[in-house]
Structures are given as C-alpha cells and as structure tokens.
Symmetry: C2
Subunit: 454 residues, 2 copies
C-alpha cells in the first residue's frame, strides 16, 4: 500500500493547485465587504471535503459568516476526531509592504507567500489531505468531522452558539487544531497553553471639530495628547500593567513549572536579530518566553487621529482613537478584564475630553494537560515524523473559541500547529514553507494511527 510519504509525493502538484485556489479567495472577516468571498471559501471547502472522502458536507449560515461542516462516520462505536479550523484571514494593510499580491500565491525559496498561507488555510489544508489519504486508501481508523468557521480572526462571535445549536452533530472525543507554531523547524513542539484576549476601541473626543492649532493650541486640551497620556500610564517603570485589579486572577506559575518551561530552548540573540530590535522589553522578573507564555500583556494594535496625510496640516484634532488588546492568562476572566480596562480608561480621562470605550471581542485562556491520551498520541506522531520528542509549549497567542469547545461540547483540543515564527502571520508577506506543509500532513496522518491503536 502507498505510504503517506509516497502519496504526498505523487499528489504534490494537485495539492498546490487546490491550495492556491483556496488562497486566492480574499476571505477577510474584519471587513464586511468581503462577505461574498467568505461564502466562496465555504463553498470551496464543502466541495474539497466531499472530494477528499466525506459522506456529507454542508455550509451552515450563522448571524455572521458561514461554517463549513463535513463528516465521515465509518462506525458510530468508534472514536470521533473533529478538526476545527478557520477559513477567514486577516486584513492585508499595509499593502505596500507585500512583495507580491497577498491573494495571488507564489512560491519563493520553498515557501508559499499569500495571506492565509499559514493562518489558517495552509494549516487546515493539511488536515483535509491527511483525511483524503486515509479515506482513499481505506485506512481511516475512526470517524472524522470537520468544522471550519469564518470568524476566528474577529473573535468567533457566533461559533459558541453554533456549537450549542448543533451539539449532537458535533459530538467528538477530541478536537484537532492546527493554528499555532512550532518552536523551530528542528524543535517540534505542541502548544499546551494559549493566552486569552480582550480587544477594545477607545475614542477620545475634545472640541466639537478639528481646530486651528495656532488659534487654539495651548488653551484647548489636545485629544491625541490626552490619549497618549492615558496609554502611557498603563505600564509602570517595571512594565507592569497599572490597571487596578488587572493581575488579581492571574494564575501564578510555580517555580517548579517555570523551571520546566525554561527547558524549551530560547535564543534571545536570534530572536532580536529576526525582529531587528536592539533590546527586548517586558515585565521585570520574567524571561521572554514567560512574558508571552504565562504573563498577560497590554498592547495598542492601532492608533489614529488628526491629519495623517502627506505634508503638514496645523490642526488641533477633535478626536483620537486607539484599538487596544490585552492578552490574558488562565483564571483571568476576559469579560471582567475588558470591563476593568474600560472603567479604568473612563476613570483616568481628564474633564476636558469625553472618552468612549467599546468592547469588541474576547475569549478566555486555555491549558491542555500533557497527560491526555490525545496529547500522547500527538507526541508519538511528532516523534515518528521529526525523529525527536516534541516540546510542550505555552504560546502567547489566542484562539478564543478553544475554551468554548470545552465549555459547550465538553471536548479538549490538541493544538498541533506546524507554523514557524518566521511565517509573518497577521503581517505582510505571510508565508508557509512547503516542508512544514508536507511534514504536517505526515504527522496528522500518524496521529490517527496512534490515537486509535490499542
């Protein structure tokens, strides 16, 4: 029988044709005008899953973007693996930093360059192809379901309800997710923790309209400066977050566990060099991987106000805006943290301005124990493929819906991500190495074997 390695080798060209077709669909969830493309992406997935071997595949509408669902039930008595992924991608601005069209994939230096090449079209495509191999060669050892949503990049606002409404259909023993990274090409790792997220938008309003900065400058509070002062006050001199109560529920990691986590290799010089920064930054008393893995963070994702065009315009702006996010860790409640931030910003606003804070989305942090049978099956699959045991790793990123799966469906997720830190997800020139694509298909195929082995 053809092995998975042979199968990949014989079908490479077709795989890339299919993936490129998918990558060409600009399924940006943050911008409403791309909604028709989301339906195109869902339709593509329905067809791709049927072709791969699903018994049935369907596109479900929600109040937001559609969900593509497919399943192959070979025997209800056997275990069921459900693959979760997302078809939506991040916006592509600033577009001028891209070296090629984000929606016209190209291969350069062995990497696919396109928006979604890694996150999450490329990574989810591996699951479709692993399933195709097992189904076509008659080796599928269990039932398989796919649930691919279109709103992950905007916080999955409708998926928890979708899960509640389709609990029976979505019954599973484990959920597989490939939407994270490995530590490095030669250091396979499985993500065992994710930070949660809360995302807010702040609007600071000063005078009724933009004013002439000469006639009014010095006598009317400048909303940009007010916003700058507010944002500047969020971190103290040790880069700890000053919002009262922010750290109250943070899960403090024991010295023992910190020692264990510190075994994951981290090269600060290489890290700084890859990012082109002279110095790292962050909360005093923690190493870089701890600052992103086990500690919360506060960031400004965007800021704007006043004149931002070419040349000069001497205005005292009427408004200033910021998009802000907090990454949170286990035991922090994302809704409580959002309210803490909102109340704090409203409280520290000076009387000269009006501050409005909107909570845009959020989700809790997640931890998956390494004692789970599915984790151990994944560990064996990685060991087979990469020749070494994968490192359990706490990632700084967030997949808010993962916690909802546990809460609503009662199912744990295994985060088998095959991306690399250099894939520039969410940035210009997102890419995914072909090597990782093929290694991922191999590893996923092997997972099914180990997970169902007696």
């Amino acid at each position: 029988m053809v092995s998975i390695i042979e199968y990949i080798d014989q079908n490479k060209e077709r795989f890339l044709e299919e993936l490129f077709y998918y990558l060409r669909i600009p399924s940006i969830s943050a911008i409403a005008s791309y909604k028709p493309d989301m339906f195109r992406a869902a339709g593509y997935l329905r067809q791709a899953l049927l072709s791969a071997g699903a018994d049935k595949a369907e596109v479900f509408e929600t109040e937001g973007n559609p969900v593509a669902y497919a399943e192959k039930i070979i025997n209800p008595a056997l275990p069921t693996v459900m693959v979760y992924a997302h078809m939506d991608v991040m916006p592509v601005d600033p577009i001028d930093l891209w070296h090629s069209d984000p929606f016209e994939p190209v291969i350069r230096d062995g990497k696919i360059y396109a928006r979604g090449a890694d996150d999450d079209k490329g990574q989810s495509f591996m699951h479709i192809k692993a399933f195709e191999y097992l189904a076509k060669t008659g080796q599928l050892p269990c039932n398989v379901k796919f649930m691919i949503e279109g709103e992950e990049e905007v916080g999955s606002p409708n998926l928890a309800r979708f899960c509640e409404e389709h609990k029976d259909m979505l019954k599973a023993d484990v959920i597989l997710v490939s939407d994270t990274s490995m530590i490095a090409r030669d250091i396979p790792s499985i993500t065992t923790g994710l930070r949660g997220l809360t995302y807010l938008q702040v609007e600071v309003t000063g005078p009724v309209s933009d004013l002439h900065s000469g006639l009014y400058g010095g006598a009317v509070a400048n909303p940009v400066i007010v916003l700058a002062k507010m944002l500047a006050s969020i971190h103290d001199e040790n880069n700890r977050i000053t919002i009262p109560g922010f750290y109250d529920d943070v899960m403090e990691v024991s010295a023992e566990e910190r020692a264990l986590l510190s075994q994951a290799p981290f090269d600060e010089t290489a890290y700084k060099s890859a990012l082109n920064i002279r110095e790292v930054w962050g909360e005093k008393g923690y190493r870089v991987p701890e600052r992103t893995g086990i500690r919360p963070a506060f960031d400004v994702c965007g800021i704007w106000g006043g004149y931002t065009g070419e040349g000069t315009k001497t205005v005292l702006p009427a408004k200033a805006y910021a998009k802000i996010s907090a990454r949170i860790v286990p035991y922090q409640d994302f809704e409580k943290i959002a309210l803490l931030i909102k109340n704090h910003l409203e409280t520290i606003a000076p009387p000269q301005v009006t501050v409005k804070v909107d909570i845009l989305h959020g989700g809790p942090a997640y931890v998956s124990p390494i004692t789970l049978p599915a984790y151990q099956a994944a560990e064996k699959a990685y060991t087979d493929t990469f020749g070494k045991r994968p490192v359990p790793f706490r990632s700084g990123g967030s997949i808010p819906i993962i916690s909802a799966f546990e809460r609503v469906l009662g199912v744990k997720s295994i985060l088998m991500g095959f991306g690399l830190g250099s894939d520039s997800i969410h940035s210009a020139n997102e890419n995914y190495p072909l090597w990782n694509l093929y290694k991922g298909i191999e590893t996923i195929t092997r997972f099914y074997h180990h997970y169902t082995a007696k």
Copy 2:
C-alpha cells in the same frame, strides 16, 4: 459718485460669481497632485486683477507653487500699498464631516461654505474688490501691488527667496494682509502679534514588521506605546513644556502689558460652549487669551500607527508616527526650537526603538506696534465701518512669511483680518459670512483713504 456701500450693493451678484469660481479650484498645497490646480488659481488671479484695474499682472513660477503678482502704479512719488495673500488652501480630510462639497461653494444662513471661503480666498477677494472700486471710480490715492502665493499653508518655503529675487518689484511702504480673525462680529480687532511655528514629523520604528500581538505582546516594545510615552512626557503637571531650553528665549510679557491685553473681552463660558468642551486647558498661571497670544504651545496635529481600519486586527505595529507642532512667541528662534524638539525626542527614545524626526517647516513670531501710521489708518477705517475703535489683539496663529517680509523687504505688515472664530478654517465646513465679506471691502477701501490723507 457711487459710494463703496452702493458699489458693493450694485455688484454683489457678480462678486459672488467670481468668488465662487475661485473657490471651486481645489488648490490644496499640502498634496502634490493638486499642483495643476494651483496654476489654475494663479491664472484666475492674474485675470481677476487685470479686470479689477491692474496695469500689469503676471504669474511667476518658483521651485514650488506659482506666485500671482499685479500692480497699478499711478505715480512713483506716491506711497505704495502691497497686498499679500495666499491662493492655496488646507486639505479637506476628514471629508465625511463636511455638510456640502468643500469645492462647490453654497450659501447657507448668510455664510459661504467652502474650503478657502475665509482662509484665504474669501479674505483676499475683499482686497481685489476694494482695489477694483478705487480704480474704476478714479479714486485710487496711491500705488497698489498684489503678491498672492500658493504655499502659505505649507510654510511658504519659496516666498522669502522670491522676495529677495524681486526686491525692486516688491518695493512698498506697507503690506496689508487679511488672513486673521476679529474677536467677534461686534468687537472689531486688528491683529498685532502672531505666534511663530515649527512643524515636525516623528517616526518610531520597533520590530522589522507588524507582529502578531499574541505571540509577541509583552516581550517586544510596542512603538505606539513608546510614542505615547514620549508625547505624554512633553507636558508636566502644570502643562508646561518639559523640553530642556524650550522657554529660554520666550519674551516674558510685563504685568503692565498683560493688564492691557486683558482688556480685550473674553467670555470663557461662550468659548467653552462654542467648542463643546467642559473645561479649558493650558499652562498654569495664564488666562486663555494669554495661553494662545503670548505663550508658546506644543500640539500633536496627527498620529497614526498599526491597524486603523474597520473591526479588529491583533497586531503589534512595526511603526508609529506623529505630526507635531510648536507655536512659538517673539524671541524664540523657530530653527533652534525645531532642533531642541528633535534632539529631545531622540534623547528620550528608549533603546528598543529607533526614532527619526524630520523638521518640515517653520517661521518666527511677529509683533506689529500700534504706533505705526499704517496701524493708525487701519484703526480709523475700522472705526468708520464698525462704529467703534478696534482692539489690538495678539493671535495664536502663525503666518511665518510676515517676519520674512520685514527681514527681506524691510516692510511692516498690518493684519486686517475679518474672519470669525466660527469660520472653521482648517476644519470641515469652513465658512465666511457675507456680512464680513462686505464689511471687509468697506474697511479696506477706507484704509486707502486714511493712509494717504494729509
């Protein structure tokens, strides 16, 4: 003989047709693509000045935008009045705040709404029409010159050189400028002081590209937060500017002169109500008119960085930018202040980022003594028109070229501005009341009479 009041009344419709034609030309100097419109504006002015009675009119090219020049020399032995104005206008963003097309003038509630309706097309149009009246009715009592430039809103980078190259042509005894405001409709005033300006752009660069805020947040300095901290540190708790040396050369105004200036009426309740703010702001120890009239100020005119589109994008931005300006007062050197700001920002930048500061433009402050004969002629003209003596007033705005006229041509300027604080210059819905337009034409006509009276 027809009086100026009768002349205006008989020609109102034609005046508005001519002015509207001028206002329809989108002569935005800050945006290079509008350069052809600047030449259209200059051509219009050449024709308008010839029609009004000029002996000759010419469009001069410079390294930047053109200068429209015209003159009527009735007798070289008589005094010469030169009118300075500008044909360029500010950008119109944010365009969605305008209630009508900025380049399609309309009259609502007795006001002309258009970009440039006041600043400075409407105000300079008054001079053309006062000149037309005097020339057509044979009453012109002196020589008249017009110099109308196209780069005032971007700091007049080429006009000082133009003056140096055309010193003979531009010989004059006084320069009239209508590019400022009166205190109120019933409080005529003449601007006797202007603040200077320096305008800079700051670029803060962090990591090599926008990063995923989950994977890196908390470990990599966020350039928006760094910029916010830098801008937040510029004002201390008394709203004094913290840049070392910033106040060194400030002309401290004596208690006596402050008492005199305080006689200009100021209604803080009306001021706050017009701007829709709960509280004013500014340097401790000074009243609002002092904060804009005799004290320097620091403002952020624009800020941007990261994702500023619809919805959410979880990025840690690579860059953050701000456009900043300082308004300066007599004895402060605009080039020295620009360097102080630049050096200060570079000095306080933390090692995690790279800060680049570009000096975009600037000009010195200006003071015109109320003892000048031309000031006194203007005072009489206002008294005739408005029935009360005008108040000498220090404005917070800047017209950088005014100091250059004194330095290069040796000529003082009289700032006969007829705008109102409610004209929204530099903002959306710029407007100019017809009442002010006509009163301005009257007053300017009377100036010529008083200035040349023996």
